[in-house]
Symmetry: C2
Subunit: 292 residues, 2 copies
């Protein structure tokens, strides 16, 4: 199936804005409808020629779209699944970019008007809004794609349309994954690292008199941690991830036990940390991509 002729992107922030810019570049024939509650974002997106038409959610011609992409912050995104589906025409495809997939896919399964194919592009920066959007944001990225739910229509074509969309946006790998497996893995791959980093930054904020010296003494680790804590798109998704509270409590227990061990048996604590450093090296993750 060729990429649809008229695509609606709801939410023109970092992700939605970058998607519009990327599609504009690789699929010049595509008509893009940008939808945002914020008139300023619509104006910016029009000025950057990222969209052909701009509209607020209430007035957006969603029934004309072949594909609609939900790209709002996680909570708003979840709330909009059913209302948006109800306004689309039968046979059209709805997809999203949320970093938690169980809640969103389950919500979309509660209607049978359109086929919904949940997706999650693994890309982001610490910056927000259309101003931070870049056509190269998804270049080389992995995109998780969940099984279709909702209407009984042409589900195979719907999945192909969503995959086609992300390939056009620059994705290097499309990973088919069940929502529950996705959310379990993302708990460790993204949400828990983010929440831990955010709490480290909160600790520092509470001893504000130390912050200037800490910033001066910041080596790469601090920069990485605080950059992670600054990624505002992750929090909302983490809040929808049902695996998070238990995993976060377990992480708290580990940190407490390590603190106790550092006091009572530092040798053993250092062995434990050394094993983890070795485990990390065995992961052989790809090197960091250079930011824009």
């Amino acid at each position: 199936m060729p990429l649809s002729q008229f695509i609606g992107i709801i939410g023109l922030g970092l992700i939605g804005g970058s998607l519009a810019l990327a599609l504009r570049r690789t699929r010049p024939g595509l008509r893009i409808l940008g939808v945002d509650v914020d008139g300023g974002a619509l104006k910016e997106a029009r000025a950057a020629r990222a969209i052909d038409e701009g509209a607020t959610p209430a007035s957006a011609p969603l029934s004309d779209c072949d594909v609609v992409v939900l790209a709002q912050p996680a909570g708003a995104l979840l709330d909009s699944v059913l209302p948006v589906a109800a306004r689309m025409r039968t046979g059209a495809v709805l997809t999203d970019v949320c970093g938690s997939k169980e809640a969103v896919c389950a919500r979309a399964a509660g209607q049978d008007r359109i086929v919904f194919v949940g997706a999650h592009p693994m890309a982001g920066t610490e910056f927000r809004g259309f101003a931070a959007a870049s056509p190269g944001l998804f270049e080389g990225a992995t995109v998780a794609v969940c099984p279709p739910v909702g209407a009984d229509g042409d589900r195979r074509a719907a999945v192909a349309a969503v995959k086609n969309l992300w390939t056009a946006a620059g994705a290097a790998k499309l990973l088919e994954v069940e929502p529950a497996g996705h959310d379990s893995a993302v708990t460790f791959a993204s949400h828990l690292p983010y929440l831990a980093a955010a709490m480290v930054v909160e600790s520092l904020s509470d001893v504000a008199e130390l912050a200037p010296l800490a910033a001066e003494l910041a080596a790469g680790g601090f920069r990485d941690t605080t950059r992670l804590a600054g990624d505002g798109t992750v929090g909302g998704a983490a809040a929808l991830n049902r695996h998070i509270p238990a995993a976060a409590r377990e992480l708290a227990d580990r940190i407490r036990s390590l603190a106790d061990q550092l006091t009572k048996d530092p040798e053993k604590a250092l062995e434990r940390l050394g094993r983890l450093a070795d485990a990390r090296r065995r992961m052989r993750l790809p090197p960091a991509r250079t930011g824009k």
Copy 2:
């Protein structure tokens, strides 16, 4: 005071090896004695022409050195302060690279044979050993320099010699700081981020069946977190930092409270996370340096 003519570097790992390579490049007239318990490291350092002479700790001619730099792992470094000082000649300068300064400077204050000037270069990578050493490791780095302790000799000259050493190695900024202030700030700038990241990696290691999918779904945050957990040089220093156990317990409490809040009042949790993301952006940290 010109940079000393004969310098001993004890510990030819990432930091000591990089220091030798950097000095070799910018101070070709300097004679460098490399000291390591590991014959393999001595051999590698000689082959790379990083050192003029190599010796094991027992046989090293420390009494001939104008400056000796302790660059072993934190625990071994602390244990060697007094034995090394006892073998140096009066008027020589002893310094170190440990990431915790209170314990090391207090130990060195317990002798009056030589002047000790504690230092801490804010640089590191996730890799270890001389094989990972690079002459550019300290390029542009900040180096914390503590007040001189120990002998009453020419303390001003001793501080100048240590500063001169790091400037020659590529440091862009020398920051004079008290050991207690240093350790408090580094708690947040380095040790706590590292320990939190290590515990996230430990969490993932315990659900090994999820690891492949988590690695596939890893965006930048996971890479940053696991890279941080792989920095083996930080753990030893964190174990010597007396501020760590309390700070780590407090971090555990924060993570637990956030988990509870995400369950009971997600809106409030998201507000809390949003404020932190804003705080992070206000920090205006320098961009990440490109690693090798």
